[in-house]
Amino acid sequence: MQVMSKEEIIEKINEFLVEEFEVDADAIAPDADLKNTLDLDSLDYVDLVVEIESNFGFKVKPEDFTGIITFQNFYDYIINKVESK
């Protein structure tokens, strides 16, 4: 995979979140609450794992999301994973 900038990673994340969880793109903001904005229940974290693998090619576990509150937390988590690959 070619090297992606942070902005490109964030754009890609937002795209799949809007598509998979059917939320309005305008509702997504760095400081917004991820769980509440996307209306995630425990089952939805499984689908988040599927989307990450499908879009970035690495596997994570649903329990890895503990401590991720905002979209910015989520972006940082993914960016860190992508950059450490």
């Binding site: 969880f21 089952l43 939805d44 499984v46 689908d47 794992v49 599927v50 693998e53 596997k59």
Partner: protein
Amino acid sequence: MSRVVITGIGIYSTLGVNLEEVKNSLYTGKSGIGIDPDRDAIGFRSPLTGVIPKPNLKEYLKRRDRVGLPDQGEYAYLSTLEAMKIAGIDEDMLLKEDVGIIFGNDSSAKSVIEASDTIRLKKDTTLTGSGSIFQSMNSTVTMNLSTIFKLRGINFTVSAACASGSHSIGLGYLLVKQGLQNKVICGGAQEINYQSMGSFDGLSTFSMRTDAPEKASRPFDKDRDGLVPSGGAATVIIESLESAQKRGATILGEIVGYGFSSNGDHISRPNVEGPAKSLEMVLKQAQLTPKDIQYINAHATSTPIGDLNEAKAIKSIFGDARPYLSSTKSMTGHEMWMAGASEIVYSLLMMKNGFIAPNINLNTPDDEVKDINFAYETVNTEFDTFLSNSFGFGGTNSSIIVRKF
């Protein structure tokens, strides 16, 4: 004991995606059969199949309610929505009453195989996604619909091969008759995809008449060469007469008998005695004689032995009574787990609209049963009592009689 009536029906089938479309197809003898080119490519003997549009439920259901639905669950959601509208069952009623659900379904192969493929490829079970388990179980239809519609009555699935849909109505009927439930959403659902049909195709039971797909399913005809797999979903809402009358519901028919039996014989080869026993039982339960039945919707699937044995069983019980007989599978193909429910819906549409649908493609019946009163063409006639047969692998048999109320 309560009398048991039908207050709602809905359909999503190869003959149409609502009751009006299906009624017109039944009347004109339209076939729902086509060719699936993918089946040829992956080694099927026969590419013939019922053809049905893929539903788009985005406008009806939120994401969480959709991800657990397999193909047949989507069909069943739409047929149930239509049936609930006809029955006048709304969200408010579902909050106040314990409405139950019993559906016939005996596979969810596509979801199982896709999950298995993902696990083998990715070496990670989480990557099957959150909906896979709810799509994969035989009880997928009842577990999903009971959640979507917030049902709080009886809740289970009947797996009885190609008699599943019929037994679901029979069991719902018994629960209502006993006074244990006031309203039960019954039905049958059947996936249409190659994953669910490969091993069945391997038994050489499917028609090979690929030059004219609409002529491939020809129950009772001398030139029949096998069944055509098909599917969809049908919903039949049953209710105690007292409950229906109290709320002023439109009564579409009364279930007056449920007969059943098991052949105790070969796993796939049907016999005559088992179905005959089911027919005797349903007449006895309904306290009717053969002359009271004006139409029989046959199980007949277009297989050489199955059709002949059913015709012999009917002849042995009905003798000189000679009710009209047709198999709507001549148009739909074999709707399997769904068939017992859809054929109650088809027969109710006929009874309401004063016609008997033709057994299309029936030119010449077998010599032994040629004196049966087959509906070779559409028959315009009022009738008030019909019987529907459904049989399945393992020799499970179910017969239901419905009367105009």
